[in-house]
């Protein structure tokens, strides 16, 4: 998630972008909620969630390319479409919750949406491993070129970067990573947004160091927060804790004035 977020922030030239900006989390959340409502088994829920996550981004990019063909279309419009898709997914999730059995289905769906590692097994890890490797290896190798994308399409083109191809690879890889993570662990907020900043504060904005740093810090942060979640008598959902710990820490860093952007 943190690598996807870091890459997106460069691609969209905006430090406020998170990896769910094109609808990957929303779609994956909808897929999981639907799967749980239909009483599918755990693997089927994951699969459905993963595919819906990919489908949501595919829809966003598809709509954007149609608009683009008609002469419009900018990065901003792509973000807007992503927000629309996410919002639609949220509406469907609410609908599913509404029709779900409040005794049985609703708590499961709600808990899942808050994000948790408590039910993750070794098999899930293998399910996660392949898409995550397919996603992160290209982003890692392309990380120098991510620097250049943050100067905008024209400058990047003039510097010899094939911007269209780069953007496509970054969107595909980030979506893959986000959708598969959400399908296994639920919606764990903050990591995709805050960890890239933290990485930039520590090692500077150059993706040569910032991307690996995001990967490491993101992983360590999740494990620490998960440990914390298990220290309570009843295990707390991770999504709550990542925000509860992350948000004040981020504010603290802002007050200290070590900002990771201009």
């Amino acid at each position: 998630m943190s690598v996807a977020g870091s890459s997106y922030q460069g691609l969209f030239r905006n430090p406020m972008v998170s990896p769910d900006i094109l609808g990957a989390s929303g779609g994956a959340g909808f897929g999981a909620a639907l799967g749980l409502l239909l009483s599918l088994d755990a693997f089927e829920v994951q699969m459905l969630s993963f595919l819906c996550g990919l489908g949501a981004v595919l829809a966003a990019v598809g709509i954007h390319s149609i608009i683009k063909r008609d002469g419009g279309g900018s990065l901003l419009s792509l973000i807007m479409i992503g927000i629309v898709i996410s919002s639609l997914a949220q509406a469907f999730i609410s609908l599913i919750k509404y029709v779900g059995d409040p005794e049985d289905k609703l708590p499961v769906i709600t808990f899942w949406l808050m994000g948790s590692l408590s039910t993750v097994t070794m098999n899930d890890l293998f399910f996660l491993l392949i898409p995550v490797i397919i996603a992160i290896v290209p982003l890692y190798l392309l990380r120098w070129h991510l620097n250049i994308l943050s100067f905008g399409d024209e400058e990047a083109t003039a510097l010899g970067v094939n911007v269209r191809k780069m953007k496509l690879v970054v969107i595909i890889c980030s979506t893959l990573a986000t959708a598969v993570t959400v399908s296994v662990a639920g919606v764990i907020g903050w990591i995709g947004l805050i960890i890239p900043h933290l990485a930039r504060m520590l090692v500077g904005p150059n993706y040569k160091r910032a991307l690996p740093a995001s990967l490491l810090i993101g992983s360590i942060y999740l494990i620490l927060v998960d440990d914390l979640a298990r220290m309570f008598t009843m295990e707390l959902p991770l999504g709550i804790l990542t925000s509860l710990v992350g948000a004040p820490f981020f504010l603290y860093l802002l007050f200290k004035g070590r900002r990771g952007w201009s």
Binding site: Q9, G10, R13, N14, P15, G71, L141, L142, R143, W144, H145, N147, I148, S150, F151, G152, D153, E154, E155, T157, A158, L159, G160, V161, N162, R200, G204, P205, N206, K208, G260, W261, S262
Partner: protein, 261 residues
Amino acid sequence: MILKIEDVSCGYGLDPPIVSQISMTIRSGEIWCVLGPNGVGKTTLFKSVLGFLKLKSGRITIDGQDIRSWTQKKKAQVIGYVPQAQNNPFPFSVKDVVLMGRTSYLSELGSPGKKDVEIAERNIHMLGIGQLENKKYTELSGGERQMVLIARALTQEPDILIMDEPTSNLDFGNQVKVLKYISDLSRRGLAILMTSHFPDHAFLCSSKVALFRQHQFVIGEADNIVTEANLKQAYGVNVQIVSGTSEQGKEIKSCVPLLDD
């Protein structure tokens, strides 16, 4: 090296062309100054040469080869671009920004190596901005940023430098400094194509001029093109061209606008 712009028409999308049927031949060591009021298509022309926009007609060649068939990488190794200084959301160091000029020489999955760093540092020092090297690009002044972007374009080791209003946003002293660097670079064999809002700059760099006058570019030596009549037609204001002799005995010329009709 010869860059030929042959009967080029260019513009956006399906709209009618903004610039039509322009032809220019730019050789190594020449400075070309494109003059004209706002919105006549100076930037559009540059975007077309750089390949951001498709040509509507005509062709652009470098040493006889149509550059349309070139990859973006190959183009970037021959044409360096100095855009108007914009901000970046992330505080890259000046050294990193200049190093980005090496991108077209790297493999798609590669990162700059030692030799690339050397080239970047050489250009940083050549332009006299060594003291900025470790500063953040986002915290520089407009003039400093302009110098960094010139260093980045030089790090592409191009034959041609395309500069979009390299003196805009600069104070008087920095404008003159940048023009001096441009003259130096042309003496080293670079071809320079730039836009300016000041006809004086054409005299200062003793350049060739493409002046947009009444829907057409007129092209030639600064002395022949930057005339009182042409400037009046192009900009719609009265101008007097005054000349004198510098202390070194060089002829100097300047355009003085007149406020009375």
